[in-house]
């Protein structure tokens, strides 16, 4: 087990209240008619969230893409802060405990330690294997898991679990969001360069699936093999400039060059360096994501400002997945007036549940695998280019279900929770 850095989130709220000269007690002083409501508010119940994270410093081809140290965690903190503001009116207090392990480490000891300290809601930013290692233990202990990091489809398909909610989108949702836009643009002929690592292969699979779903065509494909050299500094700009055109020279003519390089081996080096001038999309160029740091639509400015003020940086996709998970727990606690995981889970699983997350419409869960439905942002690193689902991609139930594996195709067979 790696380093463990537990801490309780310091509540900003009382500080804010004190600064404004109005105390919570005064704000909630009951008038006789309201005594019953206020009495309920006086009994503060505590709802403990845990954030279990596999972390190691990561390299990136561009220094701008190196993940911030607190990626994801920062979003959870803002979400817990928001929950606490609401909690002051309802007598609920939310805390966040953080534990970090190494990417290949056994997740069970850190998980068990968090649960033994009272955290019954675990936000997990773990590999699929690590997540599965704790899922069934969590079920037996009555603990709810919110997957904020892993995009693996198998966690929602063959390996789905009734006690694991996914706020992170899947690779198929991301690929479908991108493919819909390219097809809407009538850019239907694609070539694909995929990396040689497992995540790259999985994203390439998702892109291939998307092409057949929406009427695109991958007319050629090539693997960019990771030869294990240092990524950022060894070849230098001159070598990349000469090698990438040659690498893409043999492709037949195409509309778009797709890149599947989650492992950050070559993707950033593709745009502007191809043999023929073509747009690049996938993990480089036009990138599908759960959130974009420049999104200002649908009240986005507000969460972006709040996040930037609290963390001194822009909000990224994993931050949004974690914020949304924290808010889902908060929303369920508010609506049910409860801190009990079973009660909250029942509400989250009910038809009444929805969550607002600055994406222009309410988000709900797919009941067959507990994946959060959500629009996918398409951005170029500077701005949001578009948001999928695209106009014209219809669905009998929810247009958001045109993204990713839909109910008729699912391999998930959940037994009743």
């Amino acid at each position: 087990m790696g380093s463990s850095v537990p801490y309780a989130l310091t509540l900003l709220i009382p500080v804010l209240l004190a600064a404004s000269g109005v105390s919570v007690a005064v704000a909630q002083e009951p008038s006789p008619a309201l005594a019953a409501k206020a009495a309920r508010a006086e009994q503060v119940s505590e709802i403990k969230l845990g954030y279990l994270r596999a972390y190691a410093p990561e390299l990136a081809l561009s220094v701008l893409d190196v993940p911030p140290r607190d990626e994801g965690v920062a979003g959870a903190k803002v979400g817990v802060g928001d929950n606490n503001t609401t909690g002051t009116f309802l007598g609920q207090k939310f805390t966040l405990d953080l534990s970090e392990i190494k990417p290949e480490a056994d997740a069970v000891p850190a998980f068990s330690a968090m649960v033994s300290k009272g955290a019954l809601y675990i936000l997990a930013d773990l590999s699929a294997t690590q997540l599965l290692s704790i899922a069934d233990i969590a079920r037996d202990k009555g603990v709810l898991i919110f997957n904020v990091g892993a995009t693996d489809d198998r966690l929602r398909e063959e390996e789905c679990r009734a006690n694991v909610f996914h706020t992170a989108p899947t690779r198929t949702m991301l690929a479908d969001g991108l493919a819909q836009y390219l097809v809407w643009k009538q850019w239907r002929r694609w070539v694909l360069v995929r990396g040689s690592h497992e995540p790259d292969r999985l994203f390439a699979d998702a892109l291939r699936r998307a092409s057949t779903r929406f009427g695109g065509e991958i007319i050629a494909e090539k693997e960019f093999t990771d030869t294990g050299t240092a990524r950022r500094t060894d070849t230098g700009v001159v070598q990349i400039q000469r090698q990438m055109p040659v690498f893409t020279q043999a492709f037949p003519d195409h509309d778009v060059l797709l890149v599947a390089d989650e492992s950050e081996v070559f993707g950033t080096y593709v745009p502007f360096r191809t043999w023929i001038p073509r747009p690049v999309a996938g993990t480089a160029g036009l990138i599908p994501s759960a959130w974009h740091p420049a999104s200002e639509q649908w009240g986005g400015t507000q969460i972006q400002n709040r996040f930037a003020k609290a963390n001194g940086r822009r909000m990224l996709s994993k931050d949004m997945a974690a914020w949304t998970a924290a808010r889902i727990i908060g929303e369920a606690a508010t609506r049910t007036q409860s801190a009990d995981p079973e009660t909250l889970a029942a509400y989250i699983r009910s038809d009444d549940f929805s969550i607002a997350a600055f994406k222009g419409q309410k988000l709900t869960f797919r009941k067959w695998n507990w994946q959060l439905r959500q629009p996918i942002f398409l951005g170029d690193g500077r701005s949001v280019v578009s948001t999928s689902p695209q106009e014209g991609f219809l669905h009998q139930f929810s247009e958001l279900d045109t993204l990713g594996v839909d109910q008729p195709e699912t391999k998930c067979a959940l037994t009743a929770p």
Binding site: L16, L17, S20, G21, V22, V24, V26, A27, Q28, E29, S31, L34, K37, D82, T85, T86, T88, F89, L90, G299, Q302, N305, R306, K309, R327, E331, T334, R335, S354, I355, A356, G360, Q361, K362, S398, E399
Partner: protein, 325 residues
């Protein structure tokens, strides 16, 4: 100086009233994206003036005597005061950070402001232009409604999903009523009996009983051919006789007409794209909608509930207020 300005503005007001027909009202529209306020003549339905204002203008209201427009310049963290006689910015109010929407007390003396970034409602005394107090509320406060008797202020918080009832005598919250997701607007009935709260993402309008502070009814909307997700209620206005309500439905591009007694939706009026806020003309014969994405406003005839005409204004029209006389 202030006296001279008042005198000047009175002079201009007389000239203006002679120049235009008796039933013409000036309509003021805040344009969020191009930092302007558009002035539209309600009779000719033409733009008569464009005023350059501060950054990201959103909430807009007017003093009861019609002399001053108050405008939330959200990104400038201030409320600008615009003289309606000269269309000059003649002052500002200490709004607190990121003011989005506000409401004027019925006696015209106090302005209640929602500070979206700081989870506060700021109470401003207009005569002294000073902050009386700040009231901590839920996350992302926006909607502001005041009871016609002036006793109760309702603020809605968009992420907390509550309507906070604030006693205007003590500035204390007495009730927090849960409503549906992203409550955007609060509007009292003229008889103080109910407050209507729209929920943009929830897609509903909650009717809250002002005596029991319970949600007594939830109004839902269904438009054939439209997904329920695209029906996003924002602005709400109720006629002075308390009979009819109008609800702006955002990307549904329609304004719903609701029987304010039975809560039945009677009609959907097609206006422009992404309709957010609404304002009546003082004679209540017309209601005007701001249509953010199509950059226009639509005049709706209150007698027939037909859209009469749309007028192009600035970029991303947000709020609208009509001169009281």
């Amino acid at each position: 100086m202030l006296q001279r300005l008042t005198f000047l503005s009175a002079g201009f007001a007389i000239v203006a009233s002679i120049a235009s027909p008796a039933s013409a009202y000036m309509v003021y529209v805040s344009n969020e994206k191009d930092n302007t306020v558009t002035v539209v003549d309600s009779t000719r339905k033409e733009v008569v003036r464009t005023i350059n204002v501060g950054q990201r203008p959103r909430g807009i209201t007017i003093s009861h005597d019609g002399k001053f427009i108050y405008l939330c310049a959200s990104d400038d963290d201030t409320i600008e005061i615009i003289d309606t006689a000269t269309y000059e910015i003649v002052g500002s109010l200490p709004s607190g950070p990121d003011p989005e929407l506000f409401v004027l007390s019925p006696d015209g003396k106090t302005l209640y402001v929602a500070n979206e970034d700081d989870n506060l409602v700021t109470v401003i005394d207009l005569e002294s232009k000073s902050v009386v107090t700040e009231v901590p509320v839920g996350v992302e406060p926006e909607g502001m409604g005041i009871s016609p008797d002036g006793k109760w202020l309702v603020n809605t918080s968009e992420t907390t999903n509550m309507a906070h009832f604030i006693d205007t005598a003590t500035h204390e919250i007495t009730d927090n009523v849960l409503v549906d997701s992203r409550p955007r607007f609060a509007e009292f009935k003229p008889d103080n009996s109910e407050v209507w709260v729209s929920a943009e993402i929830g897609g509903t309008v909650s009717v809250i009983d002002n005596a029991s502070r319970e949600v007594k009814h939830k109004i839902t909307f269904e438009i054939p051919g439209l997904r329920s997700e695209s029906i996003q209620p924002v602005g709400v206005r109720i006629t002075a006789d308390g009979a009819k309500a109008y609800v702006a439905l955002g990307p549904a591009n329609r304004v719903a007409v609701v029987d304010a007694k039975t809560y039945e939706v009677e009609k959907y009026v097609l206006v422009g794209q992404r309709v957010w806020q609404l304002a009546f003309t003082p004679d209540q014969k017309t209601i005007i909608s701001t249509n953010g994405v199509s950059n226009d406003i639509t005049f709706i005839d209150v007698a027939t509930d037909e859209a009469i005409q749309s007028v192009t204004v600035g970029a991303l029209p947000w709020g609208v207020v009509v001169h009281p006389n």
